[in-house]
């Protein structure tokens, strides 16, 4: 009796693992093959970038409850870290991307004290931190390092195919990371902290260390994404990579799909970024109106996102 139950549980476990594995696989195959059938590579690339950012927001908000309005700060620092590595240190593109991600993680270490705040205090302070970063980078006093408000021209390292492939790799790695964290004891520890930090600490969970790890990871994801994004564009300005709408869209995609899951941000990015391309580029205000209303409706009627419609019936969704 017990034995059959154990076998059943084992089967279910393996089934779940399989479903989890399908998602990064689909992402990998989908974005690797779609350039051959769909000509507009820029849209595919940006969808990938937003999907990775949405996963980064998901990691932070879905597992620790910190809502980072200033997430774009890491994205922009990643792009500038990459650009500085190419312009001043003459690094090759891929190495420069890694440098961008690292610089972003270093900035995250500097801003670690923000994690002492919670709720609205954290959300708005992270926004302030992103504004500080953006204004420091674009200040004309920084002209010898970041070229100030005049932006970066990296035409010598422009490499659309390599940067596209790099984005696919970072996106797949990000998705795998989220799956790992969600299914490991570490992820459950994080969710315990999110629900009640005091009880979690009493249960022996290293609250500060766990939060800090997730914070650094999500900064690294945003930094790498920003670095590849800047590399792919090869010409960008501070306003391009520190645009607050980047955080806003990443948050909206995550909330729409469903935070704390792996599929939520993927689904949210595909549906809403698709919608954005259908109506948003020529008339962004109508798209903004739609997602604003969507957020209000989600908060009031469906706080778990559209994934929670499936979960509500007792189905397992990765």
């Amino acid at each position: 009796m017990l034995n059959t139950q154990l076998v059943e549980a084992g089967k279910r476990q393996r089934g779940r693992l399989l479903i989890n594995g399908v998602i990064p696989f689909l992402v990998l195959v989908g974005f690797s093959l779609s350039p051959f059938v769909y000509a507009n590579q820029a849209i595919l690339f940006q969808m990938m970038a937003f999907m990775a950012l949405a996963q980064g927001v998901n990691l932070l908000y879905g597992f620790t409850g910190y809502l980072p309005f200033g997430y774009v700060g890491f994205f922009g620092i990643g792009a500038y870290g990459m650009a500085i590595s190419i312009q001043l240190l003459h690094f090759p593109g891929l190495l420069a991307v890694v440098m961008g991600g690292l610089l972003s993680a270093i900035i995250a270490i500097i801003f670690l004290p923000l994690l002492r705040l919670s709720g609205a205090y954290f959300a708005i302070s992270s926004l302030a931190a992103a504004e500080v970063l953006s204004n420091v980078v674009s200040n004309s006093a920084m002209i010898h390092i970041t070229n100030g408000p005049y932006g970066e021209q990296l035409t010598q390292s422009y490499h659309p195919v390599t940067s596209y492939v790099a984005m696919v790799i970072v996106l797949v790695l990000t998705t795998v990371t989220v799956i790992f964290i969600r299914n490991m004891p570490f992820g459950r520890a994080l969710m315990a902290i999110r629900e009640d930090p005091v009880s979690a600490a009493m249960a022996g969970i290293a609250v500060v260390r766990s939060r800090s790890i997730v914070w650094l990871l999500s900064a690294l994801i945003a930094g790498l994404t920003g670095a590849i994004f800047g590399w792919h564009l090869s010409v960008f300005y501070p306003n391009t990579v520190f645009d607050l709408n980047i955080s806003i869209l990443a948050i909206v995609f995550t909330l729409f799909g469903g935070y704390g899951t792996v599929t939520g941000p993927v689904l949210g990015s595909i549906v809403l970024y698709g919608l954005y391309n259908a109506i948003g580029i020529s008339d962004p205000q109508y798209f903004q109106l739609i997602y604003g209303l969507l957020i209000v409706a989600l908060v009031l009627f469906l706080p778990g996102g559209i994934i929670s419609l499936i979960q509500r019936r007792g189905n397992y969704v990765p």
């Binding site: 409850g65 809502l67 004290p113 923000l114 002492r116 705040l117 919670s118 709720g119 609205a120 205090y121 959300a123 708005i124 302070s125 926004l127 302030a128 931190a129 504004e131 500080v132 204004n135 420091v136 200040n139 004309s140 006093a141 607050l244 806003i248 909330l255 205000q285 109508y286 903004q288 109106l289 997602y291 604003g292 209303l293 969507l294 957020i295 209000v296 989600l298 908060v299 009031l300 706080p303």
Partner: protein, 291 residues
């Protein structure tokens, strides 16, 4: 130079204290951060600009129009949104996201209605004379703005401390559960404060084009951040705290603009980061609210 930046910093500070007042009241009573606060300020600004350009209504009249109009808007928004939110699993975080959605909606509607170009009020709207003080002269519009702000802050203070409704508001601020248990109409009090908060935001918005130069639909989020910084600096739920926070902000902004102008955009953000990390209870604060 120094006196000029100090005096204009004080004038600006009083205005910004008034601008943050609505956010402060709503935050104090309902424990919700109205992320759309700045957008209501901008809407108030548009009311004044529209009234002046198409109907030739003086901003002094627009002040009253904005207050009444947005008081009603606040009441209209409260009942479908807030009670449902208060019963949810995590009202604090969900309200933040809800108001964020609302702010996106308002911003989009403003772009659709008014376009993306910055709009402004002429500084000469209250006459061309200027005020001379300690050898410097100041715009009369700034003086009018600071006076109106001071009057409104005082009225709010009198309302909170010398009326029975104000006493109920302070009770709800102090402890929501105990206020409920002692039979106070918490929901009605919250509704009124929410409406007053939105109304005051729009009313300060009428004056805002005179102080910050020009408005466009995207100015809202920046104003919300400034208001939040002022509220945190000055401590929650205390209208005098708003004045203190506003003064700290106004004077540091003006000194920065005079002596280090290229870095002056950083002032509100740095002030906010410093205060939340060093003394999150604010300068006048007693207890910390872990919101």
């Amino acid at each position: 130079m120094f006196t000029y930046s100090l005096v204009s910093g004080i004038l600006f500070g009083i205005f910004f204290g008034f601008m943050a007042l609505g956010l402060n009241l709503i935050f104090g009573v309902m424990e919700m951060v109205n992320l759309a606060h700045g957008d209501f300020v901008v809407l108030g600004g548009y009311v004044a600009i529209m009234a002046l350009t198409s109907l030739h209504i003086n901003p002094v009249v627009s002040l009253v129009i904005a207050l009444v109009l947005f008081f009603l808007v606040g009441l209209g928004l409260f009942f479908p949104l807030i009670p449902r939110l208060s019963n949810s699993r995590d009202p604090e975080m969900l309200s933040l996201i809800l108001f964020f959605g609302l702010s996106q909606v308002l911003e989009a509607l403003m772009v659709i209605k008014f376009g993306v170009n910055p709009e402004s009020l002429p500084l000469s709207v209250f006459g061309n004379s200027s005020w001379h003080f300690l050898g410097q002269s100041y715009q009369i519009a700034w003086i009018v703005t600071a006076l109106v702000s001071l009057v409104m802050i005082t009225l709010t203070y009198v309302f909170l401390y010398y009326t029975s409704l104000g006493r109920a508001v302070r009770a709800v601020m102090g402890n929501r559960e105990e206020a409920l248990a002692s039979g106070l109409p918490v929901k009605r009090t919250s509704a009124i404060i929410f409406a007053i908060g939105i109304g005051l935001a729009a009313m300060s918005g009428v004056l805002s084009p005179l102080m910050i130069g020009s408005l466009d639909p995207t100015s809202g989020l920046g104003l919300t951040t400034i208001a939040f910084a002022i509220v945190v600096i000055g401590s929650l739920g205390n209208p005098l705290g708003s004045v203190v926070g506003g003064l700290v902000y106004g004077v540091s902004l003006m000194l920065m603009q005079t002596y280090l102008s290229s870095w002056s955009v950083l002032v509100p953000y740095l002030l906010l980061l410093i205060i939340v990390l060093v003394k999150p209870s604010g300068l006048l604060g007693k207890g910390v609210r872990h919101a």
